[in-house]
Symmetry: C2
Subunit: 190 residues, 2 copies
């Protein structure tokens, strides 16, 4: 790749995220990153002294992005269904690239992570669930969406469908994942 990264740190974060989504946190090394970015492993350690720091940085980046999405998604003129579609399409994109959700990926390695990162991960997941819950709550209120569960529980059901859906898709194929997405929409349609 001839694209000279304007910011090595950003590139490391981007590649680290990808490696977690494709191979898992405990399956990649700093060598994978340094080779791909054509830098030395010491350069990676300069930006992220330890692998845990890299993981923390990646999760921080996600928290930041969802914070932005949470604010943006409240914009008027977008229906609750469209908002829900924004979430679903994120997972569909992952699925298409043979990646899985970073939360699900890191979850397998949860017990190998330091406490500080566990806490950060909890923050991220509560933020994601909170955004989905809010979308569902508003959609239910204005009659656009309909479902028997509370918005909190419905957000749990939808997010587990999506997270494990992309995991499953790796093995059984994309067709099953697409059927899951269709059902999610059908279940909340009034």
């Amino acid at each position: 790749m001839t694209v000279r990264p304007t910011d090595t740190k950003e590139e490391i974060l981007r590649l680290g995220t990808e490696l977690i989504q494709v191979y898992g946190y405990n399956a990649f090394s700093y060598a994978d990153i340094s080779k791909e970015l054509d830098i030395k492993n010491a350069a990676v350690h300069y930006h992220f002294p330890g692998k845990e720091d890299l993981l923390a940085g990646i999760i921080d980046q996600y928290i930041q992005r969802y914070k932005e999405l949470g604010a943006k998604i409240n914009a008027p003129g977008i229906t609750a269904k469209q908002k829900l579609d924004v979430f679903i399409s994120r997972y569909t994109d992952l699925c298409e690239q043979n990646k899985i959700c970073i939360i699900g990926s890191v979850c397998s390695d949860y017990n190998t992570m330091p406490e500080s990162v566990k806490t950060k991960l909890g923050e991220l997941i509560e933020m994601v669930l909170g955004i989905v819950e809010k979308v569902l709550q508003q959609g239910k209120k204005n009659g656009e969406l309909d479902f028997p569960e509370t918005a909190r529980v419905k957000s749990l059901l939808i997010m587990t469908n999506l997270a494990a859906g992309v995991q499953l898709a790796r093995i059984t194929g994309k067709k099953d994942y697409m059927a899951i997405c269709k059902s999610i929409i059908d279940q909340v349609s009034s």
Copy 2:
């Protein structure tokens, strides 16, 4: 012809399964096994020459167990709801032990696995889905269960709820998982 496995081999399989459920496939080593079983790492290699062989052995054991469960679950006198409870309680047990479903765990490491193991994993998952699908199908037929989706799709929805549910429970706690389980039951109740 069934060869009786040695106790050690069984112990390695048991412990290997546990390590995958607790720490993930790429996070444990043969040293973890040999230390815990108080044998030398060479002894582990005797039973499973490579780590992939161990993973294959673990998946094979699961396939065998689900084959037995698939046969047993057809026994008369058990309602479809009770059969569904058998599945749910397996995940609840995992949740209680802070473990996650082995399929979900291995899924993160999917792209680091040899083709032969990927195929085996596909076999296992189709078997599990098939059993759940059959339970749902029969329950729907005799009016015991009711849901708008096809049995196949509903099995996908339920299994993704459960698999990601135990993953989530590690982070957000058992309460969310229990709410998911309750909803699964409610959704299929007629």
